[in-house]
Symmetry: C2
Subunit: 205 residues, 2 copies
DNA sequence: TTAGGAAATCTAACAACGTTAGAAACGGGT
DNA sequence: ACCCGTTTCTAACGTTGTTAGATTTCCTAA
């Protein structure tokens, strides 16, 4: 019986090595170099072996997308330790754009329309939850009652993605995009505070 | 001599037909169906003929991207006729997201990281210029002096793209994304007005 | 009217891709 | 020592973008 558990362990191990190899190829050489044969060569196997661990290439890529979101999650958690509630929000913005700049190819597949929409939403959920937490504490700290909390989150998330895309699509440099994201967040939050006219009630939409 | 001009005319004509066929395939069946052989079949030629009009597939796709931006430009100009300066801005936002919803596959290639960044920026320029115009008249109408005009434009552009992406990436429906874009724009503009404290001078950055 | 030559077009092929089938090799249990 | 299941490989299929070379078309010039 011990041999079967060892075999399972070995299986899981090579599976992990495949993911790591794929991640390495993606991050260092971009999405164009991410081929099954290339990955197989890097882990010193023949191509079909990959299909014993993943149904198809999309399933493997999805694993990379999940890894990317986990990575982003840890960096978000670090930024979320900033004590000041306002700076905490801009820190998140800056961190999001920085991630896109430091892992451009990973960021690309994380937002590739080719990967299944439901799966992408699923793996992105924990990251968005951090944003939700932060927005909750921020609005509480400023006595701001948002008319529609989910809507506010979606606006923030979309804005961050859009400005990060400015960078990775080549419109502006990453440093500038980080600054833009911070400013955009500041402005939006200021707008939300302004909408709540000091008595703590939401203003008209 | 007249025959050569006729030949040139015919050449230009088939070139145009190729673009139209490619556009039709893209819009109706998506980017996965956009293959050279498929396009050639649709215009009743063999595949290599395409290469007599375009250096490679990327060049043909770039033509579609340019077409997409021209289309977006006309819809922007239409939205820009709204007399009220505030509603004009939210109209643009709504129109941008609507475009992404009505031409999802076109929108996809228009923002595909695979197409050359410089070329993409070049063809997108006229559309961004409309946004710049509108922001100029808006700020003038409200006595708002933006600390950094280009930065403000980039924020708006990035925000619109990000929220439109929420829709075409499948996070939210297009109707909701349109509403989100309008709200986001309203909030940002409100923030900029708030930063300018009624005396017409810019506030701190 | 016809021979020549450029332009246009086609067929066939190449390399690389994702993916699958079937053979070969391996390795533990009886 | 044999056997059977697992693992792995080789070979192949169909499709992609792209190119070379042959073939056809069609205008020009004798």
């Amino acid at each position: 019986m011990s041999t079967s558990t060892r075999r399972a362990r070995e299986r899981a191990n090579t599976r992990e090595r495949i993911i790591e190899a794929a991640l390495h190829v993606l991050e260092t050489e971009g999405v164009a170099a991410l081929t099954i044969r290339r990955i197989a060569t890097d882990v010193e196997y023949s191509a079909p072996v990959v299909y014993q661990h993943f149904a198809n290439k999309d399933a493997l890529v999805l694993e990379l997308v999940a890894h990317g979101h986990r990575l982003m999650l840890t960096e978000f958690r670090r930024a979320a330790q900033e004590p000041d509630t306002d700076r905490r929000m801009t820190c998140i913005a800056s961190q999001y754009v920085r991630f896109a700049g430091e892992h451009p190819h990973l960021f690309q597949v994380m937002n590739d329309p080719m990967v299944d929409a439901d799966e992408r939403r699923r793996v992105a959920e924990p990251v968005i939850d951090v944003l939700k937490e932060l927005l909750t504490t921020w609005s509480a700290a400023h006595d701001v009652v948002l008319a529609d909390f989910d809507q506010a989150c979606e606006i923030l998330w979309g804005t961050l993605y859009g400005i990060a895309s400015l960078s990775y699509l080549g419109s502006v440099g990453n440093d500038r995009a980080r600054y833009l994201a911070e400013q955009a967040l500041r402005t939006i939050l200021l707008g939300w505070r302004t909408e709540t006219p000091a008595n703590g009630r939401p203003a008209s939409s």
